[in-house]
């Protein structure tokens, strides 16, 4: 259960080895936290990540096998996690692959896999978690979207479109859950330096997993529906969204 000061007793992260996901765990953990669940495909990496977390005494970590593309396993996976932690207090969907547009152009199958990993898998999993939370009548779902989904750029239009789809799904879900006691927060980070973007040239307003986690935790606490990280990107993209296409498609990157 969430307690009176908004501390969560359990935190579940899908894409449990994601740097942003783990940074969010670090931000959300308090002396009240009893369970942290990292659901990921690479469970040995998950175990390593779990061991590296700084947790209060009495807080258990659990690494659960979860493959974003194996959509038929997701409902069972959520049930397994409920069996471990009881009520789901907070579920963070941090899974995602960036890929490169060149790779997708050369190998269209990879583009399909990216859609499965970034959109189909998260949607099945979040839907299953939402079903559980609707019964509980409490809970908070955090969806890692991206500014790349606000207006999809030519340079990463497969990735951008998966995030656009996930973002749209999450907005609809939030409305669907209105009045049930279950809340949704959609996080739209900008360029995040880290493993996922290694070797790439940083975009303007680049940020870090830790900074995204701080913004996310604040948004959860205040029950904000959508948060941009850093916050200024909300205004930047408000403008970019309305640029004429002739200008938009000429933006480099």
């Amino acid at each position: 259960m969430r307690n009176a000061t908004g501390e969560h007793q359990n935190v579940v992260v899908f894409g449990g080895t994601s740097e942003i996901g783990l940074a969010i765990v670090t931000e959300l953990v308090t002396a009240a936290t009893r369970h942290v669940v990292l659901a990921c495909r690479d469970t040995p990496a998950g175990e390593t990540a779990a061991a590296a977390l700084d947790l209060p005494s009495g807080c258990e970590t659990h690494v659960v096998a979860w493959d974003a593309t194996a959509v038929h396993t997701h409902a069972d996976c959520v049930d397994t996690i409920v069996g471990i932690v009881g009520d789901l207090d907070i579920v963070v969907m941090a899974a995602g692959v960036l890929g490169s547009q060149a790779q997708f152009d050369d190998n269209p199958t990879d583009a399909g896999h990216a859609v499965a990993a970034n959109m189909a898998g998260p949607v099945t999993t979040i839907t299953a978690a939402a079903r559980q939370m609707r019964t509980q009548r409490h809970g908070h779902i955090v969806v890692l979207s991206s500014v790349a989904g606000i207006r999809v750029r030519a340079a990463n239009h497969v990735y951008g479109s998966t995030k656009a789809g996930l973002d749209a799904y999450a907005q609809g879900l939030a409305d669907h859950l209105a009045g049930t006691g279950v809340n949704v927060t959609i996080v739209r980070p900008g360029f995040v330096t880290g493993r996922m973007t290694n070797g790439m040239k940083a975009a303007p307003f680049a940020t870090t997993p830790a900074a995204v986690a701080v913004d996310t935790a604040r948004a959860i606490n205040r029950n904000q529906r959508i948060v941009h990280s850093p916050g200024i990107l909300r205004w930047v993209f408000l403008i970019l969204r309305h640029l004429p296409n002739t200008l938009w498609r000429r933006i480099p990157g």
């Binding site: 259960m1 307690n3 009176a4 000061t5 002396a31 009520d87 509980q136 009548r137 049930t180 006691g181």
Partner: protein, 451 residues
């Protein structure tokens, strides 16, 4: 009548949605069986007037039972009352006081039900002398998880009786109770007041004078530090005898008709009236207005026992995010902990005004009852960023002093804190598992604290 409603505790911190069934006692069994057999596992729980502060009287996604019967059958010769569990102490007092009987124990509000008073094993200003509410209960009728109605007394089933007294509603639904009342000659109180400039003199005086009075409590200031830390006002009281009253009070010694409550002026939704910047001013004024020393003051029952009941919805003054009423008890030997907690609270400068200090007497027999011999301090802490960490710090201080926190107030603590503080938890669990093996009865408190 059944409908889905958003409910929260008095602290308004964790609103959740539950199905609320307003039923007569005879229908409780069928609601319990239907909800328990639904397989959803979200729990059933009795809810009275929602005066517990945290999440004790809610079960997110579950079923709440509100008993509508309000029967009161008072034997005016013996003072034993048979009362429906959904009856409030307010309703009970309106019948009993004019007949010369007072409730044996009342918390700081009379808007609690008899069932809730047993479930939380509430205490009052007379704890040092009279113990907690459960000690005055001769028997109660309750509906078990099976739907069966049973009559329970300390003799017929001591395990179930003392697991239910203080058991936070998790053993079943109490539908009626037989309670011993105490005789009073009048509806007035004779009050003695002393003001103290520091915590040591205040506590010393309570230790020394409490035995001479049936009722005793102190208000302490949590906005001053240093030498003035814990300055405050102690009030002691007795039920006035008939010959102590004169004038109109003497002609109508048992008159008792508290007026209806008025709301906080202009309150719509919630307002933050008490803020950091004015909490100190409120406290200063409260301290200054108290007499340095006064004896023999005549007060009414509401003025002495239930001052906040005169202000409807006072829980809204702390603002939208609600507040936590943190109450702990530590043994007599841990007086320093009271000081440390107070110091810590003063440093954090909360918008805190109401702080109550009381010396408990002997513990009762309830397995999860809160009171134990020692000092209990209550502080109101509005929810602000950082409050969670502060409360964990306070928990650590209380725990290392061998103390515990009050379940009826709790909204924040951890299972470990309860396991360490409530030494009879295992015994309580064994009784609960006997009467409710499938956990039909649940609350958010029970889920949060893994009771």
């Amino acid at each position: 009548m059944t409908d889905s409603r958003v409910v929260s505790g008095w602290g308004r911190t964790s609103p959740v949605s539950c199905r609320v069934h307003e039923v007569v006692a005879g229908d409780v069994g069928s609601v319990v069986v239907a909800a328990g057999g639904s397989g959803a596992g979200r729990g059933v729980l009795a809810r009275g007037l929602g005066r517990s502060y945290g999440d004790a009287a809610q079960a997110s996604g579950g079923d709440l039972i509100r008993l509508v019967d309000g029967g009161i059958d008072l034997d005016v010769s013996t003072g034993v009352v048979t009362v429906d569990a959904g009856t409030s102490l307010d309703e009970l007092l309106r019948v009993s006081v004019p007949a010369g009987w007072f409730v044996p124990v009342t918390p700081g509000t009379r808007f609690v039900t008899v069932g809730g008073a047993i479930a939380a094993d509430v205490h009052g200003k007379n704890h040092h002398r009279d113990g907690s509410f459960g000690g005055w209960v001769e028997s109660f009728d309750m509906v078990l998880a099976s739907g069966e109605l049973v009559s329970v007394s300390p003799v017929s089933d001591p395990g179930l009786f003392w697991a239910t007294v203080g058991g936070m509603g998790l053993t079943g639904v109490i539908v009626s109770a037989r309670v011993r009342m105490i005789p009073v000659e009048t509806s007035r109180m004779l009050v003695s007041t002393r003001r103290f400039g520091d915590l040591d003199s205040l506590m010393a005086s309570m230790t020394e004078r409490d035995d001479a009075f049936r009722y005793s409590v102190a208000w302490v200031d949590a906005t001053v530090s240093g030498r003035r830390l814990g300055r405050g006002v102690v009030t002691w009281g007795e039920h006035a005898t008939r010959d102590a009253l004169s004038g109109r009070a003497g002609r109508e010694p048992l008159s008792y008709a508290p007026s209806q409550r008025v709301g906080v002026p202009g309150v719509v939704g919630s307002v933050g009236v008490v803020r950091r910047w004015n909490a100190a001013a409120f406290s200063e004024a409260w301290f200054r207005k108290a007499p340095v020393s006064r004896d023999g003051e005549v007060q009414s029952i509401p003025a002495f026992f239930h001052p906040l009941d005169g202000v409807a919805d006072w829980n809204r003054v702390y603002g939208r995010r609600g507040f936590v009423q943190y109450q702990f008890v530590v043994p007599d030997t841990a007086v320093d902990t009271v000081r440390q907690v107070l110091e810590r609270v003063v440093v954090s400068k909360p918008a805190d005004f109401l702080n109550v200090l009381k010396r408990f007497g002997a513990a009762g027999d309830g397995m999860l009852s809160f009171p134990m011999p020692g000092w209990t301090l209550t502080v109101d802490l509005p929810v602000v960023d950082g409050l969670g960490a502060l409360l964990h710090e306070l928990d650590d201080m209380v725990l290392s002093a061998g103390g515990r926190v009050y379940l009826a107030k709790d909204a924040h603590t951890t299972p470990a804190m309860i396991t360490a503080g409530y030494l009879r938890l295992a015994e309580w669990r064994s009784v609960r598992d006997r009467v409710d093996p499938t956990r039909v009865f649940q609350s958010d408190l029970a889920r949060r604290l893994a009771l």
